[in-house]
């Protein structure tokens, strides 16, 4: 192989700006996903069909279609169908946030169902009513139990956010594509970009591993 690497041509200025946008997308999408995922989980578990069925449809739509299709659909169809256009950044956040909300709802649901039966028995024996049981026992236990999955989903959306580059959001991936085209150095550019994504994701995945080990210790 006679390719000579030239990392000099990778300019960090635009990549840095792109990273900031990517982080903004990730954080905003995570706020939507973490906050609204919980009520969505309660709706999925509702015994009341008119509440449960639309919620399940919502979750299954986001889980069973590719994220890139969701983003493109959001970007082109929402403005046409509803006659609103909110700016590419907002649209990107909405698409990623709703996607994450669906996945987090499933994480919350699993955690709520994993609250040991004995805990509920004990809280009934102590005289707590259903609302008190949900607020003081189920909610705190379930939120804690789902933190590792929420973080994993969170890193997932950080990486999925690269997809919004195709609808002209100027994120890390968008800047990388532009830079690679300008410099004719795609290998070096995308190698650096891969390292940047890795450098952000890796510590979070380590935290997930740590939390899971600690949780196994607590539950044993």
């Amino acid at each position: 192989m006679d390719y000579s690497f030239d990392f000099q041509s990778v300019s960090f200025g635009p990549l840095w700006e792109g990273l900031i946008v990517t982080l903004q997308l990730t954080i905003a999408a995570n706020l939507i996903g973490i906050v609204f995922g919980f009520p969505l989980a309660l709706l999925i578990m509702s015994r009341f069909a008119p509440a449960r069925l639309p919620a399940m449809l919502f979750v299954e739509f986001f889980r069973c279609t590719p994220a890139i299709v969701q983003i493109v659909w959001f970007f082109y169809c929402v403005p046409m169908l509803f006659n609103v256009f909110l700016g590419s950044m907002t649209m990107g956040i909405m698409a990623l946030g709703l996607n994450l909300m669906a996945f987090n709802a499933e994480a919350y649901r699993a955690a709520i169902q994993a609250v040991p039966r004995e805990q509920l028995d004990a809280s009934i024996a102590l005289g707590l009513n259903p609302l008190q049981r949900t607020l003081y026992i189920v909610l705190p236990t379930a939120v804690r139990a789902s933190i590792p999955v929420l973080l994993t989903n969170g890193i997932g959306i950080f990486q999925q956010s690269a997809l919004v580059a195709i609808v002209a959001v100027q994120d890390l991936m968008y800047q990388a594509k532009t830079l690679a085209t300008e410099t004719y150095r795609p290998i070096e550019t995308f190698t650096v970009v891969a390292l940047v994504y890795f450098a952000v994701s890796f510590p979070v995945s380590q935290i997930v591993g740590y939390l899971e080990r600690r949780r196994q210790l607590i539950m044993s």
Partner: protein, 259 residues
């Protein structure tokens, strides 16, 4: 609560309970318990011992029958669809401790103790905390008030669970195999706490497999098998020289395993 001396504290009448259409666990169970009695329930697995306690606590629906506490029916089935009615006010006089996993893992020991008094009875936090701390001291757990359940041994967890139930000033305590999940060396410290309560005349109903403990704590022993009471009498009789053939077989088997 006022009642004449010999009036029953608990009266269980022809209690029926099944899980699904085929598994009948309680088949017309009758038990009376006088104030101050400590009733130990023994019997083979699946004989309905734990189900009896769970039903008394209102954790399970019943098919038919009724349970009264202090002369007042608080669990019974009603109407054409035999809906189980539970009087939660009366039920609050009863405390229960389970086999395991019942401390709330996200709350410290003291928070576990004061949750129900504060939220259910509206007691203020300062007074509940004071009572809780005193109770923990009494059970040798004073230093563990701010520990979390994960930091406690199995025996400590069960002692905290007992203290938590006592915070609501129960008039009757139910113990469902509270030492069954413990390592053998931790059993004694939990049984000591229950014996301490017995010394204060707390009425209790205990399901246990520990015959030594049964002998030590019981004022009366009930042998329960096949969903009915087979034998009911003083511990010397039921554990020592049972009248019923089925009781004798069970006692022989249990003591044979233990020696």
């Amino acid at each position: 609560m006022t009642m004449s001396f010999s009036a029953p504290l608990v009266k269980i009448q022809s209690l029926h309970k099944s899980y699904g259409p085929h598994i009948q666990v309680l088949k017309g169970l009758d038990v009376e318990m006088k104030p101050g009695e400590r009733v130990v329930v023994i019997g083979p697995s699946g004989g309905g011992k734990s189900t009896l306690l769970r039903v008394m606590m209102g954790l399970e629906k019943i098919d038919s029958g009724s349970i009264s506490f202090g002369g007042k029916p608080y669990i019974f089935s009603e109407g054409a669809d035999r809906k189980t009615v539970i009087d939660t006010e009366v039920r609050r006089s009863i405390g229960m401790v389970f086999q395991h996993y019942t401390l709330f893992p996200h709350l410290s020991v003291i928070q576990n103790l004061i949750l129900a008094p504060c939220k259910v009875r509206g007691e203020n936090k300062a007074s509940a905390t004071k009572r809780a701390q005193a109770l923990l001291e009494r059970f040798g757990l004073g230093a563990k008030a701010s520990a979390y359940p994960a930091q406690l041994s199995g025996g400590q967890k069960q002692r905290v669970a007992i203290a938590r139930a006592l915070m609501l000033d129960p008039k009757l305590m139910l113990f469902d195999e509270v030492t069954s999940a413990l390592d053998p060396e931790l059993v004694a410290e939990v049984e000591q706490v229950i014996l301490q309560l017995a010394g204060q005349d707390m009425p209790m109903m205990i399901v246990t497999h520990d015959m030594w403990f049964a002998k030590n704590i019981a004022s009366r022993v009930i042998f329960c098998a096949g969903g009915v009471v087979v034998e009911d009498g003083p511990p010397e009789q039921v554990l020592g020289s049972p009248k019923e053939e089925r009781t004798r077989e069970f006692i022989d088997r249990v003591f044979h395993i233990r020696h």
